[in-house]
């Protein structure tokens, strides 16, 4: 559901760019069994990408004061950026890159359920805390807009990704600019996947599988 590529890929660009690692025609994806029945068409099933990628660039920017934050909803909710598919059988693979600036980004899915927490109960991201604001926070260096390394996968009516953009204290105002590359993938179910397909398919886990350990 969320993939962050190794930063080394940002430098090893002679033959491979992070964009080259997007799903393409013929790629296999598999949804885990823990997807809920509201996504029955995908739950536990394996698919093949049937078309060459159609990549849609998009951007969003916010000027925010220092020591303050704003939550950005990526879903198709009324107040969201509406970056999700509207049809079943479609997967959006979204590269998220950050333009330079003095800000952090925390990722939640759904709202108020942080992804990057640790096991100890007090170790969760908290922009109101001097130390915990850095826990699990992504910076522009983690996924530069020129070579984005952070991938978010979405399907129709999936829980909303929330990006909490926090401008560091000591900064007057900052422009937080997000660059999206949305790879629209049309999927076709593989009714009886082979062991090889099951092993090699990109596993898309449900968000509840990303936390709790």
């Amino acid at each position: 559901m969320i993939v962050q590529l190794s930063p080394v890929l940002h430098r090893v660009t002679t033959y491979t760019r992070p964009e080259d690692l997007l799903l393409t025609k013929g790629a296999w994806v598999r949804f885990s069994d823990l997807w809920p029945d509201t996504h029955k068409w995908a739950k536990g099933k394996t698919f093949v990408v049937t078309q060459e990628p159609i990549i849609v660039p998009y951007g969003a920017s916010y000027v925010l004061p220092g020591a303050d934050y704003k939550d950005i909803d990526l879903s198709n909710a009324t107040a969201g950026l509406k970056l999700y598919p509207e049809n079943e059988g479609v997967l959006y693979e979204t590269l998220l890159g950050f333009k330079p600036g003095d800000y952090l980004c925390h990722i939640y899915i759904p709202k108020d359920k942080y992804v990057y927490a640790l096991g100890e109960t007090s170790m969760f991201p908290n922009v109101a805390d001097a130390s915990l604001k850095y826990l699990g926070a992504k910076t522009p260096l983690d996924s530069p807009h020129t070579a984005p390394l952070l991938k978010l996968f979405s399907i129709k009516d999936m829980a909303a990704y929330i990006l909490r953009l926090y401008v560091l204290e000591g900064v007057d105002f900052e422009k937080c600019s997000l660059a999206f590359q949305i790879n629209k993938c049309q999927l076709q179910e593989i009714p009886n996947p082979t062991p090889e397909q099951l092993t090699k398919a990109l596993l898309l886990r449900y968000y509840t599988e990303l936390t709790g350990f």
């Binding site: 920017s61 000027v63 004061p65 333009k99 105002f173 660059a179």
Partner: protein, 112 residues
Amino acid sequence: MPTARVTANTAAQALFSVPKHVVGKVTSVKVDNQGGAARTVRLQDIFTPDVSAGVAVPSEQTKERLQITVGAGLTADVMETELRDLRFLGAVKAIASAIDANCVIIVGYHFE
């Protein structure tokens, strides 16, 4: 690389506006003051922030990013190294200590 030219005025004179998804970088500032007195020129950055968790109704902000005083009959160039860290977020304007058609301000810029 684009440039913008205005003459000294006590009312803020528009130089350029920064598009939404980029910041403005000023790469050169030249003030040619052929008037009869020293002039002080300031570069302003005018923008309205977005709604944030702490500010439900943000108000327009005017931030002064650069100030330079140039004597009568002199020309001043601000070195690029001194401008390198300046980032403009909104409308960029020049405002001067007096109205003077003989004091010309030329700014070079680009977007990142």
